[in-house]
């Protein structure tokens, strides 16, 4: 069965939870981080309210998580169960619970400055749903008809099934009726099929049977049994209030027989009241929950209580689900309104566009989003990434009200800014120097032995691998590290000589400015690059270098033969950081490049990007968005010129500003 069901807010507070088997909280924490914050499975940023079945299930090692969200309230519903189990009804459960919870407590969630939601009474609703869905799936011979679809019909079914029993109770002797009651219970327990309710497996009639089962039927006290058979009739007949009142009276009359005492009186009062509640749509959800509370606090027999509450809930829940279904289907019908109406709405729409306070719809957003998408593409963002960003922003904005004096486009602008910032911001801080220090000079208390820090640089041909390597080298030298450069490009003629020139220049510079030390490790051409890299690392460890920078041969990302050698390279050299150099100039191809390189290392993966030639593109720095979009790997450095010193830390703010600036150079 289920392990845990939790209802939590986006601010992280668990509103309600039910635990059957303890689950490490990190499972849900990881789920939140991966799905919502880092968006590893694509853009799912609090989409429009969706069914749990359309949301991809999140799998941790032993558990499967199904989830759904209510965007405007910021509530997440998540269920955790063992991956071994195949629970077909879990999606349904999550969706139904969402509908019920929102209709009962939605108002409370909208209150500002509080995290409190009084939902202690929700346990019963949940139990009812689980029981019902579990049972329907257990005897799902026919296709399980969703119980929300025909509320009217189901009411009739119950009427015909239960109504005859009620008069019997009032007029005849109790013994006879009790017998009938037990027979009823027995028949429902042994053979559910013959009763009229089960012609439709999952109608509320079915739920009544389920409820009957849930109580320990055989051991019921007389009173409880009696009570059980009396009350359902007034509750379930969902037509007429006066009729109900009459039945309530009847019950009281029978009360006076001396059979049941005052506690039962309370019970009956409650049930009829509750039936009234569920009848009127406009009743506040709070009133409902308070009614449930009243039941809770009353002190009647445990056995009868469980049954009654569940029974009432069954109907209440179905009412909620049915009305939700109705309201979700109505908007599509209500679209075609008169000419005058559309004209007025168009005018007010225009007005609101200026003044703000407009609720954004799909049609409002479509044109503006198209503009934003074009803008991003013009900034050299690959179409795929631009589409994803725009989709995410659109989903986020649908149904949102614009602020006062805020136009749609400025709302989109700010949403896009937030979206870009979130995408480009790395999960953990990237401080290369601190990482190097941690490896080369581990603390006294740490058990690790000092060793050289290995950085390898990969990329497509001609993007500037060697140039950026020497820039990083210069930066490290200024911080007084001893650096060894390994010439891993054993293929292209002149590659080793090129590095040798860089090393000579850097040596001269460091000698002049005072700094670290740099040397070249090379084995000439034609050797296996992985072996050269491995030898270089061993050499560096033995002669006390701090950092090893490994250059590699440029390779085309779609050449399987060349890319496959990278895996061996990663295994041999064991680099601490694998950096990929990407050109700012390249367009759509950057996505494929990043993906292929990221996948090529086997167990390892890229640790960061260096975006080279940023000075040549002005503010069309879209490539870095494409790269990050494709791999979720952060950008580490940005190359901004021809000199050794023209290397910059990547600043998210700078990039977002450039991407959203309107002037296209």
């Amino acid at each position: 069965m289920l392990d845990t069901f939790e209802i939590l807010t986006t601010s992280g507070v668990v509103l309600w939870s039910r635990t059957y088997a303890a689950v490490n909280p990190s499972v849900i924490n990881n789920f939140i981080a991966d799905t919502f914050i880092e968006e590893k499975s694509g853009p799912v940023s609090l989409r429009e309210s969706q069914s749990a079945s359309t949301n991809p299930a999140y799998k941790s090692d032993q558990h499967t998580l199904k989830w759904t969200t209510v965007k405007e309230l910021g509530v997440i519903f998540v269920v955790v169960y063992r991956s071994l189990l195949h629970l077909s009804w879990v999606d349904k459960l999550v969706d139904n619970i969402k509908t019920i919870f929102v209709s009962l407590y939605g108002e409370q969630l909208k209150k500002p400055h509080t995290t409190l939601v009084e939902c202690a009474g929700f346990d019963q609703y949940f139990d009812q749903q689980v029981n019902e869905l579990d049972k329907t799936s257990a005897r799902a011979n026919g296709p399980p008809v969703p119980n929300i679809e025909e509320p009217g019909n189901s009411g009739n079914v119950i009427d015909s099934g239960d109504a005859p029993a009620a008069p019997g109770l009032t007029y005849r002797g109790r013994a006879l009726h009790n017998g009938a009651g037990t027979a009823d219970v027995a028949s429902t327990e042994s053979t559910p099929v013959p009763t009229p309710g089960t012609s439709r497996p999952s109608t509320p009639g079915g739920s009544n049977l389920v409820v009957g089962k849930a109580g320990p039927g055989g051991k019921l006290s007389r009173r409880a049994r009696k009570a059980k058979s009396t009350v359902p009739a007034p509750v379930s007949s969902g037509d007429d209030i006066s009729k109900k009142a009459a039945k309530g009276k009847k019950g009281r009359k029978w009360d006076a027989d001396g059979f049941a005492d005052e506690e039962d009186d309370v019970q009956l009062d409650y049930s009829s009241k509750n039936a009234l509640n569920s009848d009127s749509e406009a009743e506040a959800p709070l009133a409902r929950s308070s009614a449930v509370d009243a039941v809770d606090s009353s002190t009647w027999g445990q056995q009868s209580k469980g049954k009654f509450v569940l029974r009432d809930l069954g109907d209440e829940v179905h009412d909620i689900l049915a009305s939700a279904q109705k309201s979700s289907s109505t908007p599509s019908d209500a679209k075609s309104t008169g000419l005058l109406n559309t004209g007025v709405s168009a005018v007010t729409g225009l007005f609101r566009n200026v003044v703000g306070g407009k609720t954004l719809t799909k049609s409002d957003l479509d044109t503006a989003m198209k503009g934003m998408q074009d803008h991003l593409v013009r900034k050299n963002v690959a179409l795929e990434a631009a589409l994803r960003l725009c989709e995410g922003v659109e989903k986020e904005l649908l149904g949102v009200k614009t602020g006062s004096f805020e136009s749609i486009s400025s709302r989109i602008q700010s949403a896009m800014e937030a979206s870009l910032t979130k995408m480009l911001t790395p999960t953990s801080s990237l401080d290369l120097l601190r990482d190097i220090d941690a490896v080369t000079k581990p603390g006294v208390t740490s058990l690790k032995k000092p060793r050289p820090y290995v950085i390898s640089i990969v990329g497509v041909n001609g993007v500037g691998k060697s140039t950026n390597l020497s820039k990083i080298c210069y930066f490290l030298l200024q911080n007084r590290y001893r650096v060894l450069i390994a010439a891993g490009d054993t293929f292209r003629s002149g590659a080793v000589e090129q590095l040798a020139v860089h090393v000579r220049n850097l040596k001269e510079l460091t000698a002049r400015e005072g700094g670290g030390e740099v040397d070249l490790y090379q084995k000439g051409y034609g050797k296996d690059a992985a072996t050269v890299a491995k030898d270089a690392v061993t050499h560096a460890a033995s002669s006390g270098y701090d950092v090893v920078l490994i250059d590699t041969a440029g390779r085309r990302h779609n050449d399987q033969r060349l890319m496959s050698s990278l895996e061996k390279f990663a295994k041999f050299a064991q680099p601490d950081k694998i950096l990929m150099v990407g050109e700012a100039l390249v367009g759509t191809d950057s996505v494929a490049q990043a993906r292929n390189f990221n996948a090529a290392f086997g167990t390892a993966s890229l640790d960061g990007f260096i975006i080279s030639k940023c000075d040549t593109v002005g503010d069309m720095v879209g490539t870095l968005v494409s790269l990050v979009h494709a791999t979720n790997v952060p950008v580490l450095f940005v190359g901004v010129g021809q000199h050794y010193s023209d290397l910059r830390n990547f600043s998210v703010k700078w990039a977002v500003e450039k991407l959203l600036s309107s002037s296209t150079s």
Binding site: E6, L8, T9, T10, S11, G12, V13, V14, S17, P25, I28, N29, I32, A33, F36, I37, E38, L46, G74, P112, H113, T114, T115, L116, A418, T421, K422, T425, P426, T427, S428, S429, D431, L432, L433, R434, D437, A438, G443, S446, F475, Q478, N479, C614, F637, V638, V640, L647, R648, N649, F650, S651, V652, K653, W654, A655, E657, K658
Partner: protein, 288 residues
Amino acid sequence: MAFADILEALLTPSLPILALGILIIIGAPLLLHIALASSSTYITPPTVLLLGPLASGKTSLLTLFERGTPAETHTSQSTTSVELNASTDADSKQSFRNHDDTSGTHTKFILVDTPGHGKLRNLAFGKLERAETLKAIVFVVDAAALSEQDVLSTTASYLYDVLLLLQKRAADKSKTKKSVVPVMIAANKMDLFTALPATMVRTNLEVELTRIRATRSKGLLDSGVGMDDVGSEDQDAWLGEYGSEKFSFKQMQEFDIDVDVLPGSITGEEGTGADKWWWWIAQKIANA
């Protein structure tokens, strides 16, 4: 017949009467607006910001203060806020469980929780930069995990960014005098066995901040920083006393930023609970 005279004077289209009329017509809405605007700023309650890395206990602390018992929490994705009342002279002034207390004067304030995930830090910094009535910052750290290098370095780098921002704000002379914001480092989870004592938390953070300051100063410039303002950037990006060998929280007093490290625990028993933190907040709210 003085009344008739006045009436006559008022109805005569003379220059002073016209001027007075125009003055009233223009002035009345203005006065009304000023009156309303000034009263509305008065209403905005002071704000206290909860910052800190992932899984340090920010949201738990928020719910503890609000409900009296901590709620179960998961990773936050958005900011949230609650309205609380603090008092420095009530009977239950030392405790946050003061919802039924009627003695003394209570000051209303808003406690804002922020997500600690690395990708969502910009939300917290947005709050930090924009909060008008920011009175105090509570930086929650996990004292039990702080002995691990990973946790320490992420915690310290976040704290470094926060302190640097506050320092820049305090040093910024061009702006109108903003009230200085005190910082409390709440060393949480003291009830756990592995928790470091508050003094160790303090020294560990100071050592790590020193290290970060050193690497940041040696690091590359951010993209977008022009070559011409390199020199000015240098001193601004240095946290604490410029050129000092070791960083200590005392150096922040140069910018009128008090940093206190207070131990406590959210789930713990009496004594080590969160009362110390509450008292600290209450004092800062009352002073401001």
